[in-house]
Every structure is written in structure tokens, then in C-alpha cells.
Assembly symmetry: C2
Homo-oligomer: 280 residues x 2
């Protein structure tokens, strides 16, 4: 496995496999790998002849007062885990190289980033879209793999790729969960033991909404309120949102007719956790 | 010469020469070719193994009340002229294909688009940056050629390419002028004979600023005022701006120390014309 940090070198390295007709798969990450990341990499391994994992904690997607500085990092461990999964190349640029003095260009995806996490984290998805566009131009992948846990991010990237005509296939990977249902996240690290127990309520809330839906409930307000109740019954939780939305536009629904996504964001202690599920 | 209108087909066509190590040169245009466009194409012919000219009157870079609808168009003539210059491929997509329903992604370059034409035409450079990013993703050029007449546009594109790590060389081509100095523009078509006479004052104003600069004048306000005076002495003219700016950041200068660009925009009758020159 190779470790590259220079943007120019990464761009040159990408030329050869492309010219030779070999497929480049990219898994963009912020590092501190857990089984969720490793699953994305295994899918990338299956989809690409050359598997590139980018590792970059992107400052422009963190708001003021958010956890950019304390976001967990462990490069040595990440390199070891990635090598075990069969990653060919880790791209780990510096913040200074990605955002040199005079940097002033941003990619904005409008409607789909307005609600949900976009409402609570202004500028977050602008930072995400911009850094992913940059990574796409640097790594030049044929296929890029994103986790479905960050559902709004996945919708945003798909929309950007379509709107800007990026010749890249975006593949979503199902959420990877702990045995008790908690979606894997680097931010689970912030949870105290008691908060960790309460955090189970996020996936339980989604299960509750799914069960109601299967039983015939179609009113979004009812599904959301029931899910919210499951979370609020637990200590240490503060719901940011529980929403039932169109799967593609992310517009809030009144009634679920042709499927939906139930998405939620909850502070558990100081950790802001997100989760979601699809209603078929 | 081939004419392509389908985005997907254009992307596929671009694969082969890239894989074979052949250089793709792109000249993005809004059509209605004059000698300025043809000069860009000749430079593109020299720089690329495959020369692609895109022809798209981009609605998102026109403001409300601007001349999108009456912007001159003549595809048959354009095809003939391009073929004569040795263009390999014309890419002429429809507005509907470029901006399908649900389109919502924009590229914004911030500081360099604030002043000059950006101040008078809000949204214009967002439209330009977005469509050029799209064209870059569709045509996949190694080299892209832009005229220096649209100086702020050239600076914006260079900045976008650098900030978003597009692996594309941006080449500027010197302004092509009529024998009496008027910079070539499709919008010169809007001029009445009397206005056409007055329009000479734009390049004369730049010559005046250059002469003063050569004679030792370094105060931006003096250079701009003298240039403005040349234009305002002519009937049918209404100056939007005459500015002396840093060549890269486009920030207005008080004193010219290490070179500058003198840029101006003037309504002559209903035509909004621009021109510029560099002070070395």
C-alpha cells in the first residue's frame, strides 16, 4: 500500500490506470476507521482495480464551535487497517495544500441541503460538496463509495455529480451497526457508558417507525412523533430533528405514498449522532 | 468535423483520445463566431490533437433583463467557419440537457467576482463558473482556451481551476481588435453606425491610460479618470466602470506598483461592451 500526500503526484498516479482501462474506486473518509469505513473499502476493493482511500479531516465542513479540533485521528492505525483490507493507495493531503492562501471557490447544492442537518449546520454541505469535488478532480475515480448513514450527504453528492456532469458512479453502502443497533460513527467515541446506552434509542426509534409503517400508518407526523418519543424517553438525549422526507429531494412529506426516508439527528451528551432508514 | 449534442456521447468520445495519450483542447463559446473566436480555435488547433469547440448560449450567466433571448445565433454559419479553421468536433448541447428539472448545483468563485462586471451583473460569474465546470467534466480537455477580452472571466476560471484542482491548463488569448481598435464582440452587432463610431473610445481610453503610465503616472485615480474622460467625450456612451486593479486578485489599486489591469465596461447605445489592457 502506498501513502501519497501531494495533490500533483496523486493526479499523475491516476493517469496510468485510467489510460490502461483500469477502474479507479475512491472511498473518501475523514479517517479513524471503524467497521463502517472498512465495509466501504471492501466494496471499493470489489469495484475497482485500483482502490484509493482519501483521508482528510476537512475543516470547511465543520462549523464554528463544532468538533474539528477534537475529531479523532490515528493515522498509524488507519494505515494498518486499510492495508489489511487491501487498499492500494491512501491519499492524505495537508489542510494547507487543499486550501492554500487565496482559496475562494465553493460548490453549493441548494435545495437538498436546506433542511435536516443542513438547517442545523450552515455551510456544512457546501464544505462537503467542495471537498468531494476537489477529491474527484485529484483522484479521478470511476466509482466513489459513500456510506448511507450520512444520507443527506449521499443525496447531495449524487445531485452534484449529476448536475455538474461528473463522469463518476456514486455507490451507497448500507449502514453498518453495532449488535444493539447503534450505527457506527467515529463520534460514538464521545459517548460515556450511560450515554452509550441511551444512544440505542436512535435505531430503536427508526425500528418503531418502520413497524408502524408496516402496520399501515402513512401520516408522516405520526411516524415522526412516535420515533421521537422513543428517543425522548431516554436520558442524555436532545433531538435535533426527526423527519420523514422524500428519498431524493429530501422534502418533508405529509403522507408517505411512494416510499420515504426517516432521518434523525440527536445530541447524546455532546455527541451529535445521525441515523436513518428507508420506508419501502 | 463532427457535431455532437448529447452529453453522454461527448463524454464517451473524450475517453479514447485521452487513453491514447492524445491532447484534447477545448474552446468554450456562445457561438456567432467572429475573428476573436476563430483566433482561439487556431490556438486550440495548435495546442490539441483533438480540438473541441463548445457552442452554448448559457442562460444562467444572463441576468433578468439582459440579452439572453436576442443574443445572436447562427449555427450553420458557425459550423462552416469552425470547419474551415480545422475544428474536429462541435459540442452543442440543449439548454434542457444542461439544466434538467431539479438542477440545483452551482460553482461560486468569491473575491475575484465581487467587483467590476460582477458588481453590475449579480450571478453572472456563478453562471459562468458553473457552466465551465460542467463543460470541463463533459469534454475532459487537457487545455482550455479563453479570450483575454473577458478578463474577469479568465481570472475567475483560472481561480476555479486552481481551487477545485481541475487538471486542466487554462490558456488566455490576446484580444483581437478591429483596425480602429474596437475589441471584437458578438455584441458589437447591436451598435448603430453612430454608436459604432463612439465605441472606438473604449480602446482609445485604454491607450490614453497606457500613454500616461508610460509617461510615469502611477495614481490609479488619475489613470481611470483620464480614460473615463476619453469615453465620456463621445455621444451614446454611459460608463459602467473604469477600474485599475491587481491583475490576479482584481482588487482596486490606489497606486500602480507591480503592474495592473485597466478594465472598463461601457454601455454604447444598448450594447454593454467591455475592454481591458495590462500595464506592465
Amino acid at each position: 500500500m502506498e501513502l501519497l500526500t501531494e495533490i500533483r503526484v496523486m493526479q499523475q498516479v491516476a493517469h496510468e490506470p485510467r489510460a490502461a482501462g483500469r477502474t479507479i474506486a475512491l472511498v473518501p473518509t475523514m479517517g479513524f476507521f471503524h467497521e463502517g469505513h472498512l465495509s466501504l473499502m471492501r466494496l471499493g476493493r470489489a469495484r475497482g482495480d485500483l482502490l484509493v482511500v482519501s483521508l482528510f479531516v476537512n475543516p470547511t465542513q465543520f462549523g464554528p464551535g463544532e468538533d474539528f479540533k477534537e475529531y479523532p485521528r490515528d493515522l498509524d492505525r488507519d494505515l494498518r487497517l486499510a492495508a489489511e483490507v487491501g487498499v492500494d493507495l491512501i491519499f492524505e493531503p495537508s489542510v494547507e495544500a487543499m486550501y492554500p492562501p487565496g482559496f475562494q471557490t465553493f460548490v453549493t447544492v441548494e435545495e437538498v441541503t436546506r433542511g435536516l442537518c443542513g438547517a442545523a449546520r450552515p455551510g456544512h454541505f457546501r464544505g462537503v460538496a467542495t471537498v468531494v469535488a476537489k477529491l474527484f478532480h485529484i483522484v479521478k475515480p470511476h466509482v466513489a463509495i459513500f456510506g448511507e448513514k450520512d444520507y443527506q450527504q449521499l443525496v447531495t453528492i449524487r445531485r452534484m455529480v449529476r448536475d455538474l456532469n461528473l463522469d463518476i458512479e456514486v455507490v451507497g453502502h448500507p449502514i453498518v451497526r453495532e449488535p444493539d443497533g447503534l450505527a457506527l460513527s467515529s463520534r460514538n467515541l464521545y459517548l460515556s457508558p450511560a450515554e452509550r446506552v441511551s444512544a440505542r434509542s436512535l435505531s430503536q426509534a427508526l425500528e418503531r417507525a418502520k413497524a408502524l409503517y408496516r402496520a399501515g400508518e402513512r401520516q408522516a407526523a405520526v411516524l415522526a412523533a412516535e420515533a421521537r418519543g422513543v428517543i425522548e424517553a431516554q436520558p442524555h438525549t436532545r433531538v435535533d430533528y426527526v423527519a420523514v422526507c422524500d428519498r431524493e429531494t429530501l422534502e418533508p412529506l405529509d403522507e408517505v405514498k411512494e416510499g420515504a426516508v426517516v432521518a434523525l439527528a440527536v445530541f447524546v451528551g455532546r455527541a451529535r449522532l445521525i441515523d436513518n432508514c428507508l420506508l419501502p
